[in-house]
Point group: C2
Chain length 684, copies 2
Amino acid sequence: MAKRLLIGDPLTSEKLDDQLLPKKMALPIFASDALSSVAYAPQELLMILLIGGTALLTFSPWVAGAVVLVLVVVVTSYRQLIKAYPSGGGDYEVARTNLGEIPGVIVGAALLVDYILTVAVSVASGVDNIISAIPELNPFRIEFAVGFVVLIVIVNLRGVREASAVFAIPTYLFIGSVALMIVVGLARTVAGDPPVASSADYAVQAESLTQAAMILLVLRAFSSGCSALTGVEAVSNGVPAFRKPKIRNAQTTLSLMGIIAIVLFVGLTIVALVSGVRYAEDPCHLVGFDCTQPQPSLMAQVAAATFGMGSIPFFVIQAATACVLLLAANTAFNGFPLLGSTLARDGYAPKSLNTRGDRLVYSNGMIVLGIVAIIVLIVYQADQTDLIQLYIIGVFVSFSLGQIGMVRHWRRALRGLQDLTPEAAKQDSARYERRSAISGLIINAIGAGLTVAVLIIVTITKFTHGAWLVFLAIPILAVLMVGVNRYYRDVEHEIEMDDTVHFGAEGDVAIVLVNRLQKPIVKAIDYALAANHEKTLAVHVAVNEADAARLQKDWAEHEVPVPLVIIDSPYRAYTSPVAGFIQKYREKHGSSVVTVYLPQYIVGHWWEAFLHNRRARRLANQLMLLHGVSITLVPWLLDSSEIIYGRRSRPLPGQQRGGQPMPEVGHRPHHLSRGSDETPPSAG
Amino acid sequence: MAKRLLIGDPLTSEKLDDQLLPKKMALPIFASDALSSVAYAPQELLMILLIGGTALLTFSPWVAGAVVLVLVVVVTSYRQLIKAYPSGGGDYEVARTNLGEIPGVIVGAALLVDYILTVAVSVASGVDNIISAIPELNPFRIEFAVGFVVLIVIVNLRGVREASAVFAIPTYLFIGSVALMIVVGLARTVAGDPPVASSADYAVQAESLTQAAMILLVLRAFSSGCSALTGVEAVSNGVPAFRKPKIRNAQTTLSLMGIIAIVLFVGLTIVALVSGVRYAEDPCHLVGFDCTQPQPSLMAQVAAATFGMGSIPFFVIQAATACVLLLAANTAFNGFPLLGSTLARDGYAPKSLNTRGDRLVYSNGMIVLGIVAIIVLIVYQADQTDLIQLYIIGVFVSFSLGQIGMVRHWRRALRGLQDLTPEAAKQDSARYERRSAISGLIINAIGAGLTVAVLIIVTITKFTHGAWLVFLAIPILAVLMVGVNRYYRDVEHEIEMDDTVHFGAEGDVAIVLVNRLQKPIVKAIDYALAANHEKTLAVHVAVNEADAARLQKDWAEHEVPVPLVIIDSPYRAYTSPVAGFIQKYREKHGSSVVTVYLPQYIVGHWWEAFLHNRRARRLANQLMLLHGVSITLVPWLLDSSEIIYGRRSRPLPGQQRGGQPMPEVGHRPHHLSRGSDETPPSAG
């Protein structure tokens, strides 16, 4: 079946451990998001400055510097966070434990939005870089974007491990090739032969700006540049997926990632400035550029300037860039489902997000993410710049709340240490804890201050540029999550034990509903008898005399050891007559526990489900609304199902004796749940 | 919920009888298809002739005459068919009983295709007439078409009776107004002031034709004209929906329909010719006509010519025409599901087509028809002419096979009568039967000959114009149907009683799967105890120690009268441990019938389904694959469900005592079937 081909055979949960990630795999998986930001952050930064004309480019080193500063601080802060909260809850868990439910939920919502936008932005940017190399593809921008998302979903449904194997190489290729490009670029500059971008000699139609406007523009540039930080949190959310020692490995990966990101970001910005790249929000503002053509990405321009347009290194870089950006999208497909399952565990999201699928990944989460991302990409026409406007807000909402939470965390820790007895306080361990707590407090305090500051700047500068949408989405999501939580809470309360609970239901009768005397029915009757109920009856709803008569004949013929009751149903109704019968029976024999036996067909091929109608199931569902009625489904495996499960499943030891082998956990439940119930064709 | 609003409250099957149709209602319901053909048949006829230029119009009276002849013959033949096969199987049943399975299936397939095309053609033509009156709507042709189909589906899901009430008036309005238009048109002509069509003075770019080509063209015109016959069979398929005496009423309705159809068809053609309507397949072939504009339909042109463009009668006629065409589409929504259920009854279609929905209509069939029709409309851009090419073939395939079947039928009948003893043969009754059989034979023989002849002509003339698609679709459908039939046959064989069947399963144990000690579990345990199995065990799969410990504590606390078994599951697996336990238990205590008790949540609101994950259900489905295991679902109605069903359902007498009231047949089963299973948020 298609699903198997695409997603691969199911895995037993026992395999769960093998799926954990070594560092060299974790880096591409969790760091690619942050690293890939390098592919668009410098471009967005310069683009915004260029709105004010080339003059403003003089600010760019300062703006870039500010971004780097923030990056350093944030990375350091997250090292603390990983140490304190290694369970993968990341900012969400921190905010929830230290700041309470609502901030936690808000962070959760913000992160979910981030993940969606990570996919959208990365894919959009990836496609943009492909088009920069092969402009002919420009008309299919959106089609490509959507196609890639679908591809990523499929790869991820196959399971984390394989995904990382597939994707490890390009990340390293990206780091290597871009680093090389920077070195070459700088070397040429030093050697007095600086690379020159194709757009270097385009004049830029600048808006004449007031002092205030100019400052605002610089701030906007900074905000856009901060898109370099996106994805830093990914690692902290992915700790559980690391090999032991999880914390150490995660921290190392995070720092490594930070260093690489800074080097690439700074290097790329410098070479871009040296080679005089011009990139405009509206390409038609570039005097001399034919703005019917797609504007090549900054990465592409720098690569072309350094190695020559259409040279092999040029294509290598574009390919690696595109791949790493798709990998970044892939990151979200690791983070989103993990967060989703955490939220589900805490009762803020549907429990189904906490159910591992056939391949031990949280399939539901991945599918949801894929669908929403595709919608966003289509709505925004896969326009990277527009999407980044939305992106940064959510990122810094979670950064800030996460950091503030950490501050709270350390202060609690310190308070805890103060309560120690003087003796205990003297011990080295206590001293050490105290020291690390203080350092943690300082680091995260700085982190909090900075990220909040950036959040304010970003909000001011981006709100009118589309970010308002995120300010709408996050609260709505948060409210939904709280609603879900309240629902679960109510159900919990509704079903928790109390004084009303008592045992000792009276009376007991088994009713086997019979349409025709066939093997499944016989099995059902046999089981009913084996469960020696006080009384066992076979009941037939006579929608037409012929069938009823025939049934009675067969009944006698096969000497079925159960009395057959026939109820008339002139209007072909099923439920009401049975319900009426149960009612009367109960009135006569006192309150009874009624067990209704129904044969349940189990089919092998998905299409068989369409060929069995669901009347018996509907009947069961309706009878379950009656007081004291429970339904016993007696399975009947059709040959097809035996073939399939026989072939597909690995029997437990001593299982074969059972005749029907045992499927694995999560083995094609969707078919089984479609496995449906039989009624004779005659009954309309 | 939305469904209620759109479709109305559920009906008890007892209402089925009231849903039968009196003649005055049956005419609009079943005859509107044939009558509405008048709206496009003359147009298509003249359009084809005009390809050969205005000169060819001289043939039009003869072509129209031929069409009328066929119509008369077909109607008369169907009167016989109704008498002989009043069960509503129509051509399908006739072909199946008299010509065998394959011809029967082919007719079935052909009819299904027809119904789809009836919807497509009628809606397309209806929209065309609306646009002829309000050309501004032209850009929204397809949107309108799709919208109307959706509308019709909704109306029909409300049930036959209401649908006909909604639609009776426009049919009569159509008949009346068009008749009036014809009278006025002819009167004016006689009075020497003939109506003049807006297109009368357009020259037509004619193709210069050879003798042969001209003959072929005339035949093509005849074929297109035969679209006037489409829908004649509808009545014969709808007999069961008539009030008693069904046969008489159906026959009368059929004849009435035939007469009206002929009068309108002939009248309209004459007035169109008199007023010199010019209608071209490609409007750009009309010299003088701005072919960027939509070409007004023949009906519109005649109406405008007779009453004046934009006059009130003009709009009345256009409105009535559009309405009656939508009604024709509606016919298919009565015929298709009925045929579908017949096919399902005979095992040639999924049984679900034979299941009446909440409103006692075959909902599934209607939805399928709606979806396919929409697809066809979109693919063919709602182009009436293109669609008609496909349409006529299927119609005449079923006509021909039906008629041939009838010939067989009568000859059988006669043979039967010959076998009578001379005495019996002398009796009046026998004489009468003999006479009617002979007359029937003659009538249907003529019918068969003629329809086959027409089928051949239609095939020759239409095949290259898209009809080949139908020649592809019908066999594919037929093969599928046979496949379905074989599948059901195999299943039947697989489950039918044989010597292997015997009673006396040994051993019996009940296992209640416990996650936490909550009310639903207690209820399950209580029921298990009531059903006094030989042994009852509570089993907990320990995915983490904490829960297990807590459970044991609660167990002791509440003195649960059942031993609690705890199985470790290091890998959070559920099925394998339980399966293993059952396996071991069986090995120790000999072959057992194992009944696994699971609480089944029943939710009220549809969205609640998303908030309960399906693990327990999946578990059940997987355990059912084990030998000797059956599943008992112990329902637990959440408050929400009680609120909803409490409010919505009408309790049976003495039902209230039961606590939970009784829903009606087919009462919101879709929610119940979503009713899902609980597992604690912790497990995951």
